[in-house]
Amino acid sequence: MRQAGTYSGMVISGKTGPHLLPLARIKKIMKKSGEEVKMISGESPIVFSKACELFIKELTQRSWMVTIKGKTRTLSKEDVASAVLATDLFDFLLNLVSQSAPAPLHPKPPN
């Protein structure tokens, strides 16, 4: 049964058992993150998996906050960019989203 209008910050997710994100891929990304990355324990990707899940959930939620200010029910790329811009914690993503920003805050430097 679908419950309409159950939008709330409290999501009852009993699916914490199996990790959702593939550990092998996480490990791959970790190894590519730097030149001198050390060995990674077998348990670390599990921690990463959960952290990523929380990160995505937070970013999605913040983006959604931007979306509902407009009259649309579609979460757009610009909404994500706005959320990043509005959150200091997500400063590391500024470069990534600068191209999708709704207003030209960062004028592209000429070649």
């Binding site: 679908r2 993150s33 050390k38 670390s44 952290a51 995505i56 029910r73 999708s100």
Partner: protein, 155 residues
């Protein structure tokens, strides 16, 4: 010249599966909400960037502690250092949960079916083992202690 095209493609070899990411994203939103495809892609890229960030910091934490392998502790410290301290509690809980589940499967689900069964079986096993041991000691001639009240026969 657009460096993003060249660099972006080579680094995006290892990305996260769209289906799984979409699932996580949609869990956070009301059922009637749509997520634009490019928004999904951007969220995935952000997640990869997040992993890169935490990885680098974890690597440094590991270095500082003079260890060779990045352990979960290092990742947790990295999260704290980068301002994601709020995640630590849930992340640690999930990690602990996984440890419990892993241990359970390693020991075999048979052992954790029910304590009562295990004790009874263990006691029965013990009695059998004692009986066998005694039988061997006595040269197999004398019958060991049995629940049936048979008189011991000496041959």
């Amino acid at each position: 010249m657009e460096p993003m095209d060249i660099v972006g493609k080579s680094k995006e070899d290892a990305s996260l599966p769209k289906a799984t990411m979409t699932k996580i994203i949609k869990e956070m939103l009301p059922p009637d909400v749509r997520v634009a495809r490019d928004a999904q892609d951007l969220l995935i890229e952000c997640c990869v960037e997040f992993i890169n960030l935490i990885s680098s910091e974890s690597n440094e934490v590991c270095n500082r502690e003079d260890k060779r392998t990045i352990a979960p502790e290092h990742v947790l410290k990295a999260l704290q250092a980068l301002g994601f301290g709020e995640y630590i509690e849930e992340v640690y809980a999930a990690y602990e949960q996984h440890k419990i589940e892993t241990m359970d499967s390693l020991k075999g689900g048979k052992w954790s079916n029910g304590a009562e069964m295990t004790e009874e079986e263990a006691v029965a096993e013990q009695q059998r083992m004692f009986a066998e041991a005694r039988a061997r000691m006595n040269g197999g001639g004398v019958a060991p202690k049995q629940p049936d009240p048979d008189p011991s026969v000496e041959s």
